[in-house]
Amino acid sequence: MNVSSLIIIAGLMSIVIYFISKFNWKLGTALQTITFLVFGYFLYSTHGDSQSVLKIFNGVNLRFAISDFNYLFLLIGVSVMFIVSIFSIDGIKKFKFKPAYNFLITLIFVSILGVFGAADFIALFIFWELLTWAAFFIVSMGKKFSRKAALLFLFMSMISAYFLITGIITINNTIGSFTFEALINNYDLLTYSIKIKILIFFLIAGLIKSGIYPFHIWVRTTHGESPHTFSPVLSGLLLKFGFYIIYLISIFFPISYIISSNPAKLISEIPGSTFFAYLGGISIIVGTISAILQNDAKKLIAFSSVSHGGYILLAFSFGTSLAFAGGLAHIIVHALTALGMFLSIGAVYYRTGTTKIDEMGGLIKNMPVTFTTYLVSIISLAGIPPLVGFVSKWLIYQSLIVRGSYFLAFAAFFGSIGSFMYVFRPLAGVFLGQRPKRFENVKEVPVFMQVSMLIVTLLTVLFGVLPGLILKPIAYMQQQIGIKPIKASLYKLFTELTTLDMVIVFSVFSAGFIAALIVFMLFAKPTKVKQHEQYTAGEIVPELQTQPSIYHYAKNYYKPFARIFEKFPSLENWYRKCANYLSNIFEIFEEFFYKESINGYIWLITLTFLIVLFIRWF
């Protein structure tokens, strides 16, 4: 199967799924899940080069390919969509527009195939825009302020798209073709200044889409407000679109040509490279601090995505083969952890109807599977062995240590230790502590949601113990696109500094745990007590039984830490001030043209028409 026929079939399936969902939404979602699974199978079985062309009007051809450079991305995309789709079989029960939601999700799937499978820039751009369009409608189906969030998302995506199309047109103007192949073959035609120009355009487009530091403002609201089944897709996959662009451009331009021969040349040729690595570092720090200060679990995870995006950008622009592999691995890792965290918080939202951390508590007794998923995901996110998060962070750290980049290493360490703080906040506030009376009868989520969460959990552990499962394809991919591949084996991690055997780490950890269990079992059996039986300094607190939430410490969990950052300037406020300033300046035009009457618009249209006429005339 090639990509263009897959896209056509998926497009047709979206309509079928829409109508079936109208008739029975559960059946429609199940059909969607099966579709994604079958597509995944087809993609998996077509390994090797497969080119295809999709003819649209006017003789415009869209080229697609499944090749080594995008095979991994396609698989990640399909897997994430599949897992989320299993979750949706039960998860979209309370949605208002279920058929439309399923339709749009399938369109998102189409656009994922299109963007990751594209072999020319026009196809890439068309599906990039399809994604924005579909995501805009899905985001606006979410919580109370979701329409505003969707508008912000649309606005930022538009800016990103303008940069992207400008970059694409610049390429076409220089080499006269939109295909990736032509770009690679005519690489020498590009002058230095044009290379820089194209690189900057593509990078800014990618940075906006992936929510890196100065452009991160849309991530919080969009992730926080969108429907709970869509947030994992947004964070695990759509942010990665930006990195895919950065990845593509870094294959085409410097890395494949330069790394293999002379890594030092990378910096001299692309002055932006180090700059972007530093931007990644700043993004890690800002994302971490902002995540620590959030009270809404989804917004907290959104900021953690900003921070982890920083790791990926840092790794990609760092310019060594090891770091590049670390960045690719981190894309997979973050897709998994974001899925795990967002799905478990989504499951909590499904049952309790809130994502505010301080309103909940003690839910572990009701939702053990959800808790396990969250726990495994956060351990992986914090980069603790023997889970998968350790693998990519290890690669990134090792490359930073080899080169001795102190600021970047500082940022990476900061993000890593800070992640303990922010992942622990929902753990303590939502799942542990005192359970409020009103959540006493909350049940575990339905079976399909549990299944999808369990898949994520198992993959996180499996890839952690056997990192070769993700590192071998990455090494193969590096070899194919002309970068010096990293050394990879099934359960060993090799770097220039040292070798690490993950199976040993895992078995030592298990042995330690078993030893602890034996010591624990040796001594007398403990007495179980109820949650209100607490140490209260000898006082009897009668409210503890009737109103347990007063004894739950979750509000302002990191107040001392917040006090440190009280006087820090906020970028969002600065943006807001700028917006106010601009709107004051342009008030006069608003008076003139945008009065709330039809006249103003007619004025504007007439004026535009006259200007166009004037330009055409001369």
């Binding site: 003690g362 572990i364 007794k365 980069g383 603790i384 062995p385 350790f390 290890w394 240590i401 080899v402 001795g404 102190y406 500082f410 360490f413 900061f414 230790i417 800070g418 303990f420 703080m421 622990f424 753990l427 303590a428 542990l432 502590g433 005192q434 220039e496 500094l497 040292t498 690490l500 055997d501 780490v505 030592v508 950890f509 042995a511 330690g512 745990f513 078993i514 030893a515 602890a516 269990l517 010591v519 624990f520 001594f523 007398a524 403990p526 007495t527 179980k528 007590v529 607490q534 140490y535 300094a537 004894y551 739950h552 410490y553 969990y557 990191y558 001392p560 830490f561 006090r563 440190i564």
Partner: protein, 299 residues
């Protein structure tokens, strides 16, 4: 081979237990003498631990309360395995610094989970303080460690120790960094002035408030093991580890007793004060050390 490793691991655990528990008993005596008290006998800590372990009643607050204790204890024991002690390595060649740092974190995470699982707000406050403070002390320590790893081109503790035996201890070549790491290790151990997470008078011992019986006994052993790892890291990174186990132990005792003496006459920082202290002084001094060492290395 595997049997050998298991045997060595058991010897290590038993040895570390006896060594560190007697040492902390001795340190109680040292503190007592500073405060002009007589102080308990040095095996007092053994008495405490075994008394708690063999108590017939202990209180459990549910599954996660037990599981977290196991995770903390198991994770800390696993971390002990990855450290070199003079000539003694349990699994030869597997002494990676980054693994040690991260596995140590799993113990902390287990402890934090268990404490918050007890649903006592005092424990939660303690944990929130402990995690906040961790962002303070870990950063300067890691920066200094990074400088050492960069200069030696290795992140294996065994190799770092070998290089120091050949070229001289790192404490002489980077004294500022050693000072920063010393204070950071004091923060890791929760010694005064960095003991706000377990402040007994404010939050009733913080994380430990709900533990009793065998839980408390296990956590006391866990704390002693964690002390071995943290002080052992300092000895390995800066004092050249040791050629023999005895040499390692002597350096260890000197460092530990010095920390106890320093902390015995200091007051307590508020938690944000200690974070600010580590960021302001620790980080800037660590970066100065980084620049100096890098300069010397490149020349």
């Amino acid at each position: 081979m595997i049997l050998n490793i298991i045997l060595k691991g058991l010897i290590l655990l038993l040895g570390a237990f006896i060594f560190q528990v007697s040492l902390s008993g001795f340190s109680r005596k040292v503190v007592a003498r500073i405060q002009k008290r007589y102080g308990p006998v040095f095996w007092q800590n053994f008495r405490d631990i075994f008394k708690f372990l063999f108590k017939e009643t202990s209180i459990s607050h549910g599954f996660i309360f037990d599981f977290g204790v196991l995770m903390a204890f198991g994770g800390t024991m696993a971390t002990l395995i990855f450290l070199p002690y003079g000539s003694f390595e349990v699994i030869p060649g597997q002494t990676n610094f980054i693994v040690v740092i991260y596995l140590l974190a799993i113990g902390l995470l287990g402890m934090a989970m268990s404490a918050v699982g007890s649903a006592n707000p005092n424990a939660s406050i303690g944990i929130s303080r402990a995690l906040t403070q961790m962002l303070g002390y870990e950063l300067p320590f890691l920066i200094v460690a990074l400088v050492i790893m960069y200069i030696n081109k290795s992140s294996s503790l065994g190799v770092l120790v070998q290089n120091q035996i050949q070229n001289g201890w790192n404490i002489w070549s980077m004294p500022i960094g050693a000072g920063v790491a010393f204070v950071s290790v004091m923060g890791m151990l929760g010694k005064k002035p960095f003991d706000s997470p377990i402040a007994p008078a404010e939050i009733a011992s913080g994380p430990l408030v709900e533990y009793s019986g065998k839980y408390l006994g296990i956590l006391m052993i866990q704390h002693d093991f964690a002390t071995v790892i943290e002080v052992g890291l300092f000895v390995n990174l800066f004092l050249g580890g040791g050629q023999t186990v005895i040499g390692f132990a002597i350096k260890y005792i000197v460092v530990y007793i010095l920390m106890v003496i320093i902390s015995s006459f200091l007051p307590r920082f508020k938690v944000e004060e200690s974070v600010k202290f580590f960021w302001k002084w620790g980080l800037s001094l660590a970066l100065i050390q980084a620049i100096i060492s890098l300069g010397i290395y490149l020349i």
